[in-house]
Subunit: 124 residues, 2 copies
Amino acid sequence: MTTTTTPPVAEAAACCAPIARQPLAEPDAAELAALLKAVADPVRLRLLSMIGSHAGGEVCVCDLTAAFDLTAPTISHHLKVLRTAGLIDGERRGTWVYYRIVPEQVARLGALFTPLAGPSTART
Amino acid sequence: MTTTTTPPVAEAAACCAPIARQPLAEPDAAELAALLKAVADPVRLRLLSMIGSHAGGEVCVCDLTAAFDLTAPTISHHLKVLRTAGLIDGERRGTWVYYRIVPEQVARLGALFTPLAGPSTART
């Protein structure tokens, strides 16, 4: 008789993420889908990552526009979608608007799909 | 001459989520946006949560269809989108297909927006 020391069933991971803890109610699903739609776009994902990773935590819209091969109105549209979703915030100073990430709202997205911190994350 | 040992700028929170750690490269942004599009829909979010939270970890497509006021082909379409994105997997047994969540792919979504566990999460 061999003693298997492997942990039971490693179903873990998804089981603890809120998305997989209980069926989402219709209104919650609608609200979360809207938030996800705001980030489900390559340009908006890149904008979000540029804003979030910028030294000092904020970026001038002028620098964002310069980084893309897109017109200023197109970038403005994408920024507006992110801002309406509450994922970024902007402040006008002089000629330009400066954007920064809203960490709580970004973390909300993550929390939906992330198993609770604990033993499951320590698993290898 | 003073020796400053404080870490540079502790913008924390969002700074540690991969989305805010460094600018996303274009191909990565495109791939992640496709994955996010798969979940950026209220019906698909509800399907995902129903599959993930179901006792035993899997659900018969017959039960999923019964839970919605939608036609079977519509539910099938949404399930196909989730399956194509690698978020669920299905197995035919007899008349019905049984779906279960793919934890690794769900966790990938979460990781993108989640600050690394550590001091930053303890901030208030």
